[in-house]
């Protein structure tokens, strides 16, 4: 087919298992994990794409894709239901010669060279499906084009003492990268990669093919492809990003990121301006009912809820019921949870569709300096009457 050329196509890596989210990703891909009351993690990169004018997005799925596929659907909630471009879910598929799962991030893109070529793009934007942030990719693309870079990597400053946990970009004064170190013991700088890359497609394609032919490669962007492009003398630039960004790949970071939405001056201002809206698939639920007996402060309450209990510093997602004499504190309650009267939930994440029966106790209180151990209840679980789930317990 004769398609109109696209300036930039985005490829969103959504196939990871997210095993560090434990029970929350038992039957769900990480990007489909609920966030912030009415969103799912993937809404953030997807909305960023749309708000940045990128209207062709391939979503690479592999692990437990059912829920994610259904959620993405035809892409209509994000305005990505287009006749040319739009959103496409790209699972691994059987081929005539060789069929295989996505072996790594680079291999996932390699296997979809055909998809990308259909749009004949100048550039390809590689994104992860497990980060919470708001970013104008168009600005990064302008930077990439102005520098005539072969590859541009978004970086943010991290505290020097934490730098050894990240992929670190060592740059010259003009932002060009002279060295890339994956989790260096003695970091030379604190420019941490955010896992957001823009490549010139002609360059990336060449290196993806070469990477595939190398049997020793782990087919990973950070470990193999980017070092190879750098070593071949291509122009790599670091694009400095200032705003909020959070990898929500662990229980504690997922909990923290939810909590960082709250308060008068939240760390992450989810409102943004009208051009930076975060879009989500909306379910038709009535507005929430807040009873006389309810006491809610410093919290998000999404639609379709009925609240009769006390909710402090928490996120209550769509379709939840919080009965009388319930206490929810410092917790994330995912969609469609029922919390029966007398239950107490503190420092916890309660998964989608759970039922917390009368007088159950989940989690506990912590002194301000104490490490918070988050209790987690997986999707569709029932916490029995009077059952006690200890701080840090995951079930």
């Amino acid at each position: 087919m004769n398609f109109q050329k696209k300036h930039c196509v985005a490829m969103l890596l959504a196939g990871g298992q997210g095993s560090r989210l434990m029970v929350l990703t038992e039957n769900t891909a990480k990007p489909a994990v609920p966030f912030g009351g009415k969103y799912r993690i993937i809404d953030f990169p997807l909305s960023n794409c749309v708000n940045s004018g990128i209207n062709t997005v391939g979503i690479l799925t592999q692990y437990q894709p059912l829920e994610l596929n259904e959620y993405i659907g035809n892409g209509q909630p994000w305005g990505l239901n287009r006749s040319h471009g739009g959103v496409q879910v790209l699972p691994p598929y059987a081929r005539s010669k060789k069929s295989e799962w996505y072996k790594g991030t680079a291999n996932a893109i390699y296997q979809n060279i055909g998809f990308i070529e259909r749009y004949d793009p100048e550039n390809v934007l590689i994104l992860s499906g497990d980060h919470i942030y708001r970013m104008d990719y168009a600005a990064m693309l302008r930077f990439h084009t102005e520098k005539n870079a072969d590859c541009t990597i978004a970086v943010r400053k991290v505290p020097m003492e934490e730098a050894s946990r990240f992929g670190i970009m060592n740059t010259n004064d003009d932002g060009s990268i002279y060295e890339f170190e994956e989790k260096p013991k003695k970091p030379k700088s604190n420019n941490a990669s955010m896992g957001i890359y823009i490549f010139k497609w002609s360059v990336l394609k060449k290196f993806l093919i070469a990477d595939e032919e190398d049997p020793k490669s782990q087919n990973d962007f950070g470990k193999n492809v980017i070092p190879a492009i750098l070593n071949a003398g291509h122009k790599l630039y670091a694009y400095a990003f200032q705003g909020y960004w959070k990898d929500v790949g662990t229980i504690s970071s997922l909990w923290e990121a939810n909590m960082e939405l709250l308060g008068e001056n939240p760390e992450f201002d989810i409102y943004g301006d009208s051009k930076q809206k975060i879009y989500a698939r909306n379910y038709a639920m009535p507005s929430s009912y807040i009873d006389r007996s309810a006491q809610i402060s410093n919290s998000f309450i999404a639609e379709g809820c009925e609240v009769f209990g006390t909710v402090t510093h928490s996120i209550i997602s769509t379709g939840c019921t919080v009965e009388k004499d319930v206490v929810v504190e410092d917790s994330v309650i995912m969609p469609n949870v029922t919390i029966e009267s007398g239950a107490i939930i503190r420092h916890a994440i309660v998964g989608e569709g759970c039922k917390v029966c009368h007088n159950a106790i989940i989690g506990g209180r912590f002194a301000p300096e104490e490490t918070k151990e988050i209790s987690v209840i997986g999707k569709d679980k029932v916490v029995e009457e009077n059952q006690v789930i200890k701080p840090g317990e995951i079930c």
Binding site: K38, I278, S287, S288, Y289, F300
Partner: protein, 371 residues
Amino acid sequence: MKMMGIIFANIYDSSLGQLTNKRTMASLPFGGRYRQIDFCLSNMANSGMDHIGIITRFNYQSLMNHIGSAQEWDLELGEGKLEFLTPFSMGHNGSYRGKLDALNSAMIFLQLATEEYVVLADSGVLCAIDYRKVLDEHIASGRDVTVITKAGISNGEKQLDLAVLLDEEGKVKDMAVDYAADERYLASMGAFIMKREKLIEAVRESVARSLYHLERDFILRSFYKGELNVGVYQFQNVALFNESPEEYYQSNLALLDSKVRHSLFRSGNTIYTKVRNEVPANFGENAQIDNCIVGDGCVLDGKAEHSVLFRGVDLHKGASVKDCVIMQDAVIEEGAELEYCVLDKLVHVTKGAKLRGMPNHPVIVERGETV
């Protein structure tokens, strides 16, 4: 599908005063996030109907914006699907006198349809109803016209469009139009089922005799002439009649009653509406929200009691709202006190402003006003 639908978007416009100055009855916001038409449109979609005509007279811009491509209802716009029957498309200047006049202008739409039955519905009566059940009863009874009715609405004061009195056997004994009937009468919910051919015939015959009022000139007249077998379907669940500003105000507050709420939203149906992509409601440190409906996108740091707060209401610290219906995107500043008020969309209540209506006469503030 054997049934098609027709929705009248402008009925009672004039009786709702300022609230329908710039919009149709059908697009009047309701219950925190809805427009009135969401109810009958969702009922039709939930009943498996996909051919629906919306008859509009004027001010239908906001209604068309709201419906958009109708994807939220899983409906499609187009011929034989969801169609807007605007005065212009009907070769009409919008000055029709009654529903029969309006239907006469939509004659081609009715004639081209293939469905055997037609449901006529007013957008001003809100309920969750399965029209398939009404159709089953209608067919089983062998009647010409079934009027969907509700008991307990008539009170000797409220003017009913069509009041129906049944005898002990459930047969229609008396009918009256525009009548403040006593408690024995059932109130028509402005919804009817009949064969499409029957409706076409009724429209043609009535309009030819300069008769235009559906209830009076067709149903009542033909019934008394013995030409029409009329019966009622008695709807058992909650039905909210919004035919005056006072009723509109009371109906909104009625949602605070869980029986009403659950009958409308949790009786196995779904009421669809346009998506607005708001963030969840944000309750601040000082929020004191008692017995309220709260829409997405609200930022609440003040006090609200026994009220409906639509999407995007900004209630500042130190502001207080009681017995109010506050539509989308209102800003209520510190020290403001509102009691028995209906605020239309985008109203700004400045610091310290005080407004107080009466329970049966709420103060109505027009769209976009600053108080």
